[in-house]
Amino acid sequence: MSTFKYVLKRIGLMLVTAFIIMTICFVLIKLLEPELPMMGNQAEAERARREALGWNKPIMVQYAIYLKNIFTKWDWGTSWKIDYFQPAASVIIKRLPPTVIINSLELLISIPVGIILGVFAAIKKNKWQDHLISIIIMLFISVPVFVYAFLLQYLLGFKLGWFPLIMSSLYDAGGKWFSKVMLKSMVLPVLSLSFGSIAGLTRMTRAELTEALTSDYMLLARTKGLTKSQAISRHAMKNAMVPILPRILGMILGILGGAMLTETIFGINGIGKLYLQSITTLDYDVFMATSMFYCIIGLASTIVIDLSYGFLDPRIRMGER
C-alpha cells in the first residue's frame, strides 16, 4: 500500500472516529435537557435562534440541524452564558491567542533544554551528572504541575517579587501580546509548564540515545576512525531522533490544547479556562464545540505522530500489522 493511500486511510478512520465521538457527546449532552437561560435583552432574537437550532425537536433532528449548520455555515451553536449570544466558534477563536503564545514560548524553552540535558545525561551515563539529572527528572515528572506553580508563585512572585503572580490582561499590557509587561507576566506560567515537558523530553532523549550508543553500528563507526563526538552526532543522534521527533511534533500540535491547570492558576484567559468555564456554567454549545476541538487535536496528533514515524523511518508503519 502506498504511503498516500495509507495516509488517506488513517485520516478517514480519524474522521469516522471523530464523528462517532461527536454523536455520542451530542446525544449525551442533549439528554440532560439543558436548562435554558433567562431571556436576555435580545429576547426575540434569542427565541428565533433557538427555533433555528430546533431546541424543542427530537434529539436526532437537532443533531441533523447541528451537523447541517456546521457543514454549510461553520456554525457551532451559540454561547448563552460565557459570551452572551456570540457564535461558539468565535468564542473559541478569541481565546486561542494567549494559549498559543504561552505554549509556544514553553516549547521554545523546553525542546532545546530537554534535548541538551538528555544528550548530556546519555553521554555521562552512570556518572554523577547522569544521576543528578535522573533525580531531577524523577522529581519533575512526579510532582504535580500545580505544586511547582505554587512554589514559583510563592518564591519568585511573592517572596522575591520579580514577577507578577498572575498573567496581565491584554488591556493592562496596552493591547499588545508581546509588550514588556505581558512577557514579564508570562514568565511564571511558561516556567511552570516547561518543567514537566523538559523532564519528559530529557528522559526520552536519554533513554533513546543510551540505547543507540550501545548498539553495534556505533562500535563500527568508532572502529572506522570517527571520533566519539562525530560518531554520536552523525550516527547515534540520527537514530535516537526517530522516536523523539514525532513526540516533538505531538507537543507542537498540543500548543492549541492549552493546559487547564496552568491557565486556572495564573488566570490566563485561554482555551483551557474556557473549557472549564463552559463546564461550570453549563454553556452547552461552547462545551460541545470545545470538546470536539480537544478531541480533534488529540486524534490529529496521534495521526501526525504515527505518520511521522513512517516518514522518518520507512520501516515503521504504525497501526498496521
Binding site: 478512520l13 472516529t17 471523530a18 462517532i20 465521538i21 455520542i24 457527546c25 449525551l28 449532552i29 439528554l31 440532560l32 535522573s134 524523577m138 522529581l139 515528572i141 512526579s142 510532582v143 504535580p144 500545580f146 505544586v147 505554587f150 508563585q153 510563592y154 511573592f158 503572580l165 528522559r203 533513554a207 543510551t210 540505547e211 487547564m260 491547570l261 486556572t264 492558576i265 473549557y275 472549564l276 463546564i279 461550570t280 453549563l282 462545551f287 470538546s291 480537544y294 478531541c295 488529540g298 486524534l299
Partner: protein, 519 residues
C-alpha cells in the same frame, strides 16, 4: 561393530538378574538448593533497587498515616471551628522557638502593638488592678511570641513581631443563660483554669462605641483607639511600657468588678478568654499540628482523609481496570480475527474521547443527578477509558504466547479455551500486567487531584476531602497563609514521587530486559 553379527550373547541364567530399585519409587533427584520461581526472582531484583524499596517504605508510612492520622490529632474530620480558621501549625510538646509555635511574622504599628500586647496583659489583669507591660510579655496567654526593634517607615514607627495565631483571638463576648454560666464557673473551680474574665464597661466613657463588640479592648481608650491614662490623656507605646494599661471593667456600686452583665431576666453577657473557653468546650487546648484550613478544619486530619481517598480511588480504579482490561484483552488476543478487529475499533473510539470530556459527561449525568456519589462517579469515569491500556497490553501478550508449542500441547491434551487463556497464557503476562497496574496508581492519583483541584469533581464536604480540593480551595491563601497549601502539596508530591519510584522498581523487577529502556 564389525563383529556385531558374530557376537554371541552368552546364556545368563535368570537367577543372576536382580531389580535395582525393587522397593523404591522412581523420581527425579531433588534440588540441592531452594528453587527460585519467577516471583521470587522478581522480589530479589526489587529488593536490590534501593530507591524503590525506600519508596515502598514511604508509601507504607503514608498508608499508615492515612488510617491512623485521625487518631494522632484531637480533631474529628467534620469538626470546624471558625474562630481558629487559618491558624498556624503548632505543637506545644515540641515548641521550638520560631518553628512549629503557631506563630507568624507580622509588622505592627504602635496602636496595634498595644492592642495585641493588651491581650496578654488583659489575661493577667483579673482583679482590675491594672497591668504592666512585662506581665503581658510573661503571660502564658500573651499573643506576642517575640518582638523586634522599632523602625520607621513612611513616617510611622513599626515593629516586626511574631504573633501567636491562637492567642491572637483573645477575648470574646458570649451570651449565656445562668445555668451555662454556673456550669463554666463549676468547671473553672474544678480545673483551675480561668475562662470568664471581668466584664467591660462597654457603655462607659472609656470605651469607643465602635469597639463595643471587640472584647479585647479591655483597657481605657479614646475614640481613636489609643489607650489613655487616669487623667484621660493619650498614652504612647513608651508610656504604656512604663506604666501599663488601666482597665475599663464594669463595676457595681461598691466598686467590685463584675463578671457578667445582665441582659434580661435570663441571658447574661460574659467575656471569656476564648482559648480557655475552648478548653472548657472541647476538653483540650486548640492545637492544630499542621494548622487549620480556611473553614477551620484541622489540616492533618483532612490530609489523612485526602490520602485515604487517593489510595482507595487509585486502588479501586486499577483493580477494575485490571479485571476488565485483562478479560477484554484476553478475549481479543486469544480469538483474534473478527473479534479482535471489532474489539480494537471499539477501543479506538473510546480512547479517542478525551479523558476530561468523559469525566465531565459522567459528572453531569451521574453525579449531578444524584445517581452516583462523587467517588463512585469518579471510579466510573476512570473505568470508561482506563481499561484500554491494560487491554492493549494483555492482547499483545496473548498474541505473543498463543501460538507457542506448549499451548498446542495443552490444547491437544483437551484443555478448554478458558483454561488455556487464564491458566496457561495469562500467568506469562502477569508481570507486565502487575507493573502496568502499579504505574496506573500514580497517574490516577495525579488526575484525580487535578480534577478536584479544578473543581470539576468537588470533594469538599464535612466527611470527605481530597488533596486536590484542599489545594484548590487554598489557592487564594498562598501568600498570606502558605501552610494551607504547603502540607497538602507536600503530601501529594511525596505520594507521587514514591509511587513512581515504586512502579519503576516493579517494572525493572518483572521485566529485567526493559531495564533502563524507559527511565
Amino acid at each position: 561393530m564389525a563383529d556385531i553379527k558374530n557376537f554371541v550373547i552368552p546364556d545368563i541364567p535368570a537367577s543372576k538378574f536382580r531389580l535395582v530399585q525393587k522397593d523404591a519409587d522412581i523420581h527425579d533427584v531433588k534440588f540441592e538448593t531452594k528453587p527460585v520461581g519467577f516471583f521470587k526472582d522478581a522480589w530479589r531484583r526489587f529488593c536490590k533497587n534501593k530507591s524503590s524499596v525506600v519508596a515502598a517504605i514511604i508509601i507504607a508510612c503514608l498508608l499508615l498515616f492515612a488510617f491512623i492520622g485521625p487518631f494522632i490529632t484531637k480533631y474529628e474530620m467534620s469538626e470546624a471551628n471558625g474562630t481558629y480558621a487559618k491558624c498556624r501549625p503548632i505543637n506545644r510538646a515540641l515548641n521550638i522557638n520560631g518553628f512549629w509555635d503557631g506563630g507568624y511574622n507580622k509588622k505592627l504599628n504602635d496602636k496595634y502593638l498595644i492592642y495585641i500586647m493588651g491581650i496578654g496583659m488583659g489575661a493577667e489583669d483579673t482583679e482590675g488592678e491594672g497591668c504592666q507591660w512585662s506581665d503581658g510579655i510573661e503571660s502564658q496567654y500573651g499573643a506576642i511570641i517575640s518582638i523586634g526593634d522599632e523602625y520607621s517607615a513612611e513616617g510611622n514607627t513599626y515593629r516586626d513581631a511574631r504573633v501567636d495565631s491562637y492567642m491572637e483571638m483573645g477575648f470574646q463576648y458570649l451570651s449565656l443563660t445562668e445555668d451555662q454560666y454556673n456550669d463554666i464557673k463549676a468547671w473553672e473551680a474544678e480545673s483551675g483554669i480561668r475562662a470568664i474574665y471581668p466584664m467591660i464597661n462597654i457603655y462607659g466613657e472609656w470605651c469607643d462605641e465602635y469597639n463595643r463588640d471587640d472584647a479585647n479592648y479591655w483597657y481605657r481608650h479614646n475614640a481613636k483607639q489609643w489607650p489613655v491614662n487616669e487623667k484621660g490623656k493619650k498614652m504612647e507605646v513608651a508610656d504604656v511600657m512604663e506604666n501599663g494599661l488601666i482597665d475599663n471593667y464594669l463595676r457595681d456600686g461598691d466598686g467590685n468588678i463584675m463578671d457578667y452583665m445582665q441582659r434580661d431576666s435570663n441571658m447574661r453577657t460574659v467575656r471569656v478568654l476564648y482559648y480557655n473557653y475552648y478548653q472548657y468546650r472541647n476538653g483540650h487546648a486548640p492545637e492544630f499540628l499542621l494548622g487549620a484550613d480556611p473553614t477551620g478544619y484541622d489540616i492533618l486530619v483532612r490530609i489523612a482523609s485526602g490520602l485515604r481517598l487517593s489510595f482507595l480511588l487509585s486502588i479501586a480504579v486499577s483493580l477494575v481496570n485490571f479485571l476488565v482490561g485483562t478479560i477484554y484483552g484476553a478475549i481479543e488476543g486469544y480469538y483474534g480475527g473478527a473479534v479482535d478487529l471489532i474489539g480494537e475499533r471499539i477501543s479506538d473510539i473510546i480512547s479517542g474521547i478525551p479523558f476530561i470530556v468523559s469525566c465531565v459527561l459522567v459528572k453531569l449525568h451521574m453525579v449531578n443527578t444524584g445517581k452516583m456519589s462523587a467517588f463512585g462517579g469518579l471510579v466510573f469515569a476512570y473505568f470508561l477509558t482506563g481499561w484500554i491500556g491494560q487491554a492493549y497490553l494483555v492482547r499483545t501478550q496473548f498474541y505473543r504466547f498463543k501460538n507457542q508449542e506448549y499451548i498446542l500441547a495443552a490444547r491437544t491434551l483437551g484443555a478448554k479455551d478458558g483454561r488455556l487463556m487464564f491458566k496457561h497464557i495469562l500467568p506469562n503476562a502477569l508481570g507486565t500486567i502487575v507493573t502496568a497496574c502499579a504505574l496506573d496508581i500514580p497517574s490516577v492519583i495525579l488526575s484525580e487531584s487535578t480534577l478536584s483541584f479544578l473543581g470539576i469533581y468537588n470533594f469538599n464536604s464535612r466527611t470527605l476531602t481530597s488533596l486536590g480540593t484542599m489545594l484548590g480551595d487554598g489557592q487564594g491563601y498562598l501568600s498570606t497563609y502558605p501552610h494551607i497549601i504547603l502540607f497538602p502539596a507536600l503530601a501529594i508530591s511525596l505520594l507521587m514521587i514514591s509511587f513512581n519510584l515504586f512502579g519503576n522498581g516493579l517494572r525493572d523487577a518483572f521485566n529485567p530486559t526493559l531495564r533502563g529502556g524507559e527511565d
